[in-house]
Amino acid sequence: MSRILWLSGALALTLAAGCTRHTASAPALHATATGSAIVESSGGKQLGTPGAMLPQPLVVQVNDAQGNAVTGALVEFRGAEGVTFDPAASLSDSSGQVSTNVTLGAPPGRYEVTAASNDKAGKGFVLKVTELAAGYQQQLGFELQDQYCARCHDPESSPQRVSNYDNLAVKPHAFTEGETLNNFSDADLIAIISHGGPALNRSALMPPYGVTLSRSEVQALISYIRLVSDPPWRITGVVYAKQ
């Protein structure tokens, strides 16, 4: 009962917030065109802070059946309880794109947000995007991997840091590689981080960090790896999606 109350409360709040915004910018949004698919342009799979706005806006594009951008299609964003969008609904611009700032809910974890639109026949179609909110442990894991691991495990170079990935005879796995890393149990990951690659009969290019990092730091690294894994780690916990 209280859950329904909460949900309706949250809904009312969202609506109220939405309404004030709409009266400010556009009194009513009417689609002037319809598409048949939504694709992600940028802003998916971001790592954010619980309860805070994601660093980059989520940008999606509405296409027609031929894959051309559609201008003036109405796109609505929805998320789980606590997730807010600014704006929550918008018409696609001249390049077919819609941009929204996403604020995630308070609990850390994976968030599934939906961009929805209707086609000519009024039938809905959606795009589902995953966003991540890092709690204390995952945040610590992110900082640690940034310091110790990313130089080899992240193939991308940045002006501040040149990746060592290409220099390694045996290539390390990026932490998002769920296909591989999800096959490792937590105990396996603890072993390979603490005792190095040879602990699991893998390359000695992966050195042991068991003395350098504390047990809780290794745990933090694992919780980060599990959070960013794609496809998701099987007992990753809650997916905060709208029911």
């Binding site: 859950r3 308070a106 609990p107 900082e143 080899c152 002006p159 220099n167 000695a204 919780s223």
Partner: protein, 686 residues
């Protein structure tokens, strides 16, 4: 009125007309009174949630365990020394249940893992709210006198900062906020006292304005005052939103107030060289001197490239006077004794070359619309009044103006400021975090007469600053002794003698840390004398060819004289030693071939050092760690040995893992690495 009273009296008399009726009446009242408390208890919110929780866990696989853990009734964490009486777990029953990881409905979510135990700290220490309350509204949202609502999740790192005043790896937002408070000079006007009675210090470098007239023009000061960001995107000086007349008068005062430097330091008119210096040569001198380690320049794409230790130089040619720049490049300390700029020992032709190159970075649009008439004495007087009013002297040294104390409200306990003391503007959320964020975002929205300037912070920076400010609470001053964390003392180490003077001139501490003092851009040199060989250090100071080619920021070449270099090298080799390692306990060479070969095997197979280090430049590729191709001519054997045994003991925070190596392995690896000497041909070339 009277009849009403009479009627009441007759009614009450009717109720107690005879003893039996009185007894019945009183019994009934007693019964009702006794029923109120159980009824209230029965319909309480927390009991409702507990029943819901029991239904939730009923069908789960781990129901038996969860039911065994479940305790009904009001649950309370009581910590007298923290002033914590938290009953949150009466509703949040599953906070400690690790197996509830898949439950998303509140109030039954488990608490995400944190480094502290709930029963040692309670809930309100971090989350705020009213711990003793047993209804949702009172516990979460109450804003009655002396009470505060829950802290929104986005600012939760502020709570860590109540006790932790040193940067923690798990609180990036708080760390960034505190860094911004220091870097943008917030703490110059708003003092922030910490519980250990130290005061937060600013890390910005506002220049003295005593000789400003020698350095730049009045037009430039005007343009800068109007909008610092139009000159440098990375300016730390905020926009005071001055009117044209105010900017005109302040610039007039600053120029009139400026005291000219002696003519032998800054000649009145620079002697123009007959031939224009070669811009390509200037550019390569700029590159060789690694100016970009500290100074940034905007590239064609609009991105800043370079370090942020010194000011941005994108438009510096429109700002500084050539004769001043020549004197500055020759010896920056004659103009600003606290500058971070090192004294390069450039020759006069090099100075002219560098001067011309730096001067070429101009922006004709910057002062295109600035036309100032000669200043009148009224304007200068008004300018002086404005300089006093806006507190310019809080940051800048200005002749004849006293540095004001406590210029703006102290923020030592801003995170606990009662809502009743805040004046909100209409249309904003009436909470403390929203108030702080709005104040930072647009200070003058709270009143046009306010003097707080406008910064150009991004939304994320405002969030970080708000988090940092929310961490300065009453609670951080009233912590029990068992929770007080001593903040590290500020090191005031200063090397002695001629070497100390040279190190001050070269500003070694801007990048290097020695005995706890200095920056973290370059390696800690506290034990450099134990680590390196004398010949290598001398060569390196002569020509600092970098150890790590992948880095943008590098050690500049200071063109030291042979005698100065000898003084520095001697000082380093004698003073910067650790007592734990005897530099001469292992030889520099003469290790057996078998031991070297054993070391090679360990290097390439067991420890796979080649993933990060190069020994054979033709074959190895790793470049996370420094190349080791000539490490035998650079480091001492005992240092390598002890480094291999425990890198973090010699340099805390280094990312090379401690491999828990045996003495035998470390010895063999040391022998192998010491065999990597500078090749004789290269030596001969030098």
């Amino acid at each position: 009125m009277k009849s009403m009273k009479a009627r009441l009296i007759s009614f009450s008399r009717a109720l107690v007309r005879d003893p039996i009726r009185t007894f019945g009446m009183v019994s009934f009242l007693l019964l009702v009174a006794l029923a109120i408390a159980p009824a209230k208890d029965h319909f309480s919110e927390w009991r409702h949630y507990q029943q819901q929780y029991l239904r939730l866990i009923h069908d789960r696989g781990d129901a038996v365990t969860l039911q065994r853990h479940f305790q009904g009734g009001i649950r309370q964490i009581w910590l007298p020394d923290l002033g914590v009486v938290d009953r949150c777990q009466s509703c949040h029953t599953g906070l400690d249940e690790a197996s509830l990881v898949d439950v998303s409905t509140q109030p039954f979510r488990r608490h995400p893992p944190i480094p502290h135990r709930l029963d040692e700290f309670g809930c309100v220490v971090c989350h705020r709210g009213q711990g003793a309350a047993t209804t949702v509204a009172e516990a979460h949202h109450s804003t009655l006198a002396r009470e505060e609502p829950l802290l929104p999740a986005r600012y939760i790192e502020a709570s860590c900062g109540q006790c932790h005043h040193v940067a923690l790896p798990g609180t990036p937002k708080l760390n960034e906020g505190r860094e911004l408070l220091a870097r943008y000079g917030c703490v110059r006007c708003h003092s922030i006292k910490l519980p250990d009675s130290s005061t937060m210090t600013a890390t910005d470098q506002p220049p003295p304005l005593t000789h400003i007239g020698d350095k730049t023009s009045r037009e430039w000061i005007y343009a800068w005052l109007k909008d610092p960001a139009s000159y440098a995107a990375s300016a730390t000086m905020p926009n005071f939103q001055l009117s044209d007349a105010d900017a005109r008068d302040i610039s007039a005062f600053l120029i009139a107030n400026s005291e000219p430097l002696p003519a032998d330091i800054v000649p009145v008119a620079a002697t123009k060289s007959s031939s224009a210096p070669d811009p390509a040569a200037g550019s390569s001198l700029y590159g060789e001197s690694f100016c970009a380690s500290c100074h940034a320049v905007q590239n064609a794409a609009g991105n800043l490239v370079g370090g942020d230790l010194g000011p941005e130089l994108t438009r510096v040619g429109s700002k500084v006077k050539p004769e001043w720049l020549q004197a500055w490049l020759r010896d920056p300390r004659t103009y600003d004794s606290h500058t971070l700029m090192p004294r390069y020992r450039w020759t006069e032709p090099q100075l002219t070359l560098m001067n011309a190159y730096v001067q070429s970075k101009t922006d004709p649009d910057l002062m295109a619309n600035v036309h100032l008439d000669p200043a009148t004495s009224e304007q200068i007087a008004h300018g002086k009044a404005l300089v006093t009013e806006y507190g310019c002297a809080v940051c800048h040294e200005i002749r004849g103006i006293q540095k004001p104390e406590n210029f703006a409200p102290e923020l030592s306990r801003i995170g606990s400021k009662p809502l009743a003391q805040l004046v909100f503007i209409s249309g904003m959320q009436q909470t403390l975090p929203d108030y702080i964020a709005a104040k930072i975002h647009r200070p003058r929205a709270f009143g046009t007469a306010l003097r707080m300037p406008q910064y150009t912070f991004s939304a994320e920076q405002v969030d970080a600053l708000t988090t940092a400010l929310l961490s300065y609470t009453d609670r951080s001053f009233t912590l029990p002794t068992r929770l007080q964390i001593p903040s590290p003392s500020i090191a005031t180490y200063q090397p002695a003698g001629h070497a100390g003077k040279l190190m001050t001139e070269l500003n070694c501490f801007a990048c290097h840390r020695i005995n706890g003092r200095g920056g973290d851009m370059a390696p800690d040199l506290t034990w450099e004398g134990t680590a390196v060989q004398r010949q290598w250090l001398d060569d390196f100071l002569k020509n600092p060819n970098t150890l790590r080619p992948a880095l943008i920021r590098r050690m500049p070449k200071f063109n030291l004289s042979d005698s100065d270099r000898a003084v520095l090298t001697d000082y380093f080799m004698t003073v910067y030693q650790t007592a734990d390692i005897d530099r001469d306990s292992m030889p520099l060479s003469g290790y057996s071939t078998a031991l070297v070969e054993q070391g090679r095997q360990l290097f390439y197979s067991k420890y796979s050092c080649q993933s990060c280090h190069m020994v054979n430049a033709a074959q190895d590729k790793g470049y996370i760690g420094p190349p080791l191709t000539q490490v035998g001519s650079r480091l001492t054997a005992p240092w390598i040995f002890h480094w291999l045994k425990n890198p973090q003991a010699l340099r805390p925070g280094t990312i090379e893992p401690n491999q828990n190596m045996s003495d035998e392995d470390a010895g063999a690896l040391t022998a192998f690495l010491m065999a990597q000497k500078t090749s004789p041909t290269r030596e001969a070339k030098r």
